[in-house]
């Protein structure tokens, strides 16, 4: 298990150091049935640039790692979900009120800045990398070891790390929400490959018909998940 995790770590670190185009080759060499990250590396991002893509992969891997509990975010394609989701009207602020003036009020009133989601993530990546370079001798987030990455993430989550231009806590919360969406949403959106997260928690997907099981108490729900396209897990 330890070997396995080490090889995966070098794979992910590898991704960050190579241009995106080279990532497929790296992944092909590092094939491992249990920690297969090919889902992330075969996809060519069209929203995130190379550095951002490496950041997204590294952050996904820490937020929902591959472990004995079940598949990780990277192998289920969550980076692909994020890249595609950032190109939807939703991420451009389609259902948010986006008019100014933009004022500072308490946290009970939600995000009051002028950026739509996709720009919160972009500005956030740049700011987090800036923080990391200053704190860790010129290294970006992807170049830190797992322990250092998690220290940064906890600092952002608690609001202890102050970033230039944007709230680190906000960026972290938005990333966490998006990564969870990608991990759990229907596979058609790019993440949750083969309904991996649904199988892990026992979610039947879009079966949407449980009348015969409402009163069953002594047995676990027996059927595997179904996705929007009708595939069975």
């Amino acid at each position: 298990m330890k070997d396995h995790s080490t090889s995966r770590r070098s794979l992910i670190k590898g991704l960050s150091l190579f241009p995106v185009a080279a990532a497929t080759a790296v992944s092909a060499q590092g094939t491992n049935a249990q920690a297969d990250n090919s889902a992330a590396s075969e996809y060519r991002p069209s929203f995130f640039n190379g550095d951002e893509w490496a950041f997204v992969i590294a952050l996904c891997d820490r937020l929902i790692p591959h472990d004995a509990e079940g598949p990780g975010a990277v192998e289920l394609g969550v980076p692909e979900f994020l890249d595609r989701h950032m190109q939807t009207p939703y991420a451009a602020g389609d259902i948010w009120y986006m008019q100014g003036p933009f004022i500072e009020v308490g946290p009970e009133f939600g995000y009051q800045g002028r950026l739509p989601l996709r720009d919160i993530l972009r500005v956030g990546i740049k700011a987090i990398d800036g923080y990391c370079r200053q704190k860790y001798g010129g290294k970006n987030f992807v170049q830190l070891d797992h322990g250092q990455q998690e220290t940064v993430m906890k600092g952002l989550e608690k609001g202890e790390i102050k970033l230039e231009e944007i709230s680190g806590k906000l960026v972290f919360q938005q990333f966490l929400a998006e990564v969870r969406y990608g991990y759990f949403a229907d596979p058609k959106y790019g993440g949750n490959k083969d309904m991996g997260s649904w199988k892990m928690i026992g979610y039947p997907g879009v079966r949407a018909d449980y009348l015969d099981w409402v009163g069953v108490r002594d047995k676990a729900y027996p059927l595997p998940p179904v996705d929007l396209s009708g595939r069975r897990g």
Binding site: L63, Y90, I95, W96, P107, V214, G215, L228
Partner: protein, 591 residues
């Protein structure tokens, strides 16, 4: 120069529950009825069809069935000394849009108010003395009684195919129902739905405390049903997509399933969608509405003349329309004068989550929006408010409207938000936990109200509404009391762990976390035009050919979900228009 359309008898603004009820009732009277809906038309097919409707990302993240805030929203602050900021992302409450409105994406809990809920102020004064009510609390009796509304509660339940168990019929108590409810003229149209685990265990826990549990009246059909309009419903299959979603199955009552099929095609009914009503137009006296002005789908300004104007938008937007149209006098919290915007109230929702080991099959993905179990032992006159330390009351209930992982999985105390320990916590919780909720009343206050906020404009150049609202000590005490009772009760179920989210002392209203779409008041009904915007028939005191049915009419909010009351009030208003107003158009109550 506005285009002027042919005049109609009735112009309806908004095609949710209240608009659909009014359209049906008034077309039956032979009137020409035009409904203007700002959103799109929607019907079960294709808009709620399987499997797309079960897409959690579309439904609960992109919020396909909710109102986008991009063009219309409100601003919110806690008090006059704070600056109000826009409600930019959906959080605390979820207005609907399109045909069906919030009646498309509601859950289905379908309560009647208790008889004493109509007389909160006089009952409290009688039981505990006038001084028991703090000076800042502006609660008022409803100007209508339970007995007057009973036929209309009944009517709405039969339109919705409500599934439940009566507790009192014609004064006789019935075993298994709510013994504290107001007397019904007959039983529910359908029996209760079957119980999932959490709803079943609730009976055991509640009875051990000496409470009187009963099935929540659910407008989620427990069997095949045809309503009085001839609309057919099918049995709920517990798909778990009620709240946020349209019903794929013709099971959850909605304007789309239960009324629109009987309206579409009528010669004296017209529905215009993508018609954004900007204001109610008044004549030179300011006492009569001549119709409304709206922006059509091509962006043209249209004047639509009509004899009667019915404001049937979501409660907050009904108040907004009255303010921007100059109907009545805006409420001023300093002088206490004015009525439009007065007595805004909300709902005091709290949750208790119970976690079990893997042998307990709670299956939260199995869900029904309105079904479940509750009791009224801590609500209405059953509660000793002096001992409890707050005015009002509330329910503790088991409800399982359906959970999917995109909507979020509540994990046990101590589980982090990410990493391996989070994954483990989610796996343990998803099928082996459930939650009970505490839904408390929310009183009204002199400093909780709605007004205009000109700094921010909507997509049509109008000032946004400003909501001034914060939790008062009374509601915080209520939250702590009711959550305390719920936690105490749940010990009987021996969960591995549990957690409750009672509001701490000094809690502030948090607009970012979903609580409830039960935004009430702002254009309230009353018996005095100096302290209410509407008379007992929900008719504007100031402009008598304008009526505003909706939760905006509640002087304060009780412990129940408002939809049953909203429907009953709307039928009550429709009856008043049909039997009184049409014969003699003018004020139905003399000021």
């Amino acid at each position: 120069m506005a285009i002027v359309k042919d005049s109609v008898d009735v112009v309806i603004v908004g095609m949710g529950w209240t608009g659909a009820i009014m359209a049906k009732e008034l077309t039956e009277e032979g009137l020409s009825v035009l409904a203007l809906e700002r959103g799109a038309d929607r019907d079960t097919q294709p808009d709620f069809s399987y499997p797309r409707v079960n897409d959690e990302l579309e439904g609960s993240v992109h919020r396909r069935f909710l109102q986008s805030l991009s063009k219309e929203t409100v601003t919110i602050h806690h008090g006059l000394s704070d600056t109000a900021a826009p409600y930019r992302q959906i959080g605390s409450f979820k207005p609907g849009t399109g045909v069906g409105g919030a009646g498309t994406h509601w859950s289905g809990c379908h309560f009647r108010a208790l008889p004493e809920d109509f007389k909160v102020r006089s009952n409290i004064e009688q039981r505990f003395g006038k001084k028991f009510i703090p000076d800042i609390m502006s609660i008022q009796d409803f100007p209508v009684t339970y007995e007057e509304l009973e036929p209309h509660f009944d009517r709405f339940e039969y339109v919705c195919g409500t599934s439940g168990k009566a507790g009192v019929i014609n004064g006789q108590q019935i075993e298994g129902g709510n013994p504290f409810e107001g007397s019904r003229s007959r039983d529910f149209p359908l029996p209760p739905n079957p119980n999932y685990l959490g709803g079943e265990l609730f009976y055991k826990a509640a009875r051990e405390m000496g409470f009187h549990p009963y099935p929540i009246p659910a407008s989620n059909a427990s069997g095949p049903y045809t309503n009085p309009y001839g609309c057919q419903m099918g049995p709920c299959n517990f798909c778990g997509f009620c709240s946020d979603y349209g019903c794929l199955n013709y099971s959850k009552a909605s304007p789309n399933a239960c009324i629109l099929p009987a309206l579409r095609g009528l010669k004296n009914f017209e529905l215009r969608t993508h018609a954004q009503v900007m204001r109610v137009d008044l004549d030179s006296t300011g006492k009569k509405a001549t119709g409304v002005t709206y922006i059509d789908s091509s962006g043209r300004e249209i004047h639509q003349p009509g004899s009667i104007v019915l404001l049937c938008a979501f409660s907050l937007y009904n108040v907004h329309l009255m303010l921007v149209s100059g109907i009545g006098t805006p409420y001023d919290p300093v002088s206490g004068k004015g009525t439009i915007g007065r007595n805004y109230s909300y709902q005091n929702l709290n949750r208790v989550s119970l976690f079990f080991d893997e042998t307990v099959q709670a299956n939260q993905f199995i869900g029904i929006g309105g079904g479940g179990t509750t009791f009224d032992d801590l609500n209405g006159k059953q509660l000793d408010n002096a001992a409890a330390g707050f005015i009002g009351g509330g329910l503790v209930w088991a409800r399982q409207p359906g959970a999917g992982p995109v909507r979020g999985v509540t994990t046990a105390t101590g589980v982090p938000n990410w990493g391996t320990a989070w994954k483990k916590g989610v796996k343990e919780a998803f099928r082996h936990s459930f939650y009970y909720e505490v839904q408390g009343s929310c009183m009204s206050y002199k400093d909780a109200y709605l007004g205009p906020r000109p700094t921010y404009k909507d997509g049509f150049g109008r000032p946004l509404l400003r909501m001034t609202f914060n939790w008062h000590d009374n509601e915080i005490k209520g939250s702590q009391f009711l959550v305390g009772k719920a936690l105490e009760m749940c010990k009987a179920l021996n969960p591995k762990s549990m957690k409750g989210d009672a509001k701490p002392n000094g809690a502030k209203y948090d607009t970012t976390a979903y609580q409830s779409t039960h935004t009430c008041g702002g254009a309230i009904m009353g018996d005095n035009p100096t302290t209410s915007a509407l008379n007992r028939y929900l008719q504007s005191w100031d402009v008598p050919n304008v009526f505003a049915p909706g939760a905006n009419a509640f002087p304060q909010n009780n412990g129940y979900n408002p939809t049953g009351m909203v429907g009953a009030l709307t039928y009550w208003t429709a009856k008043a228009i049909r039997t009184q107003y049409l014969k003699n158009p003018g004020p139905l109550v003399q000021a």
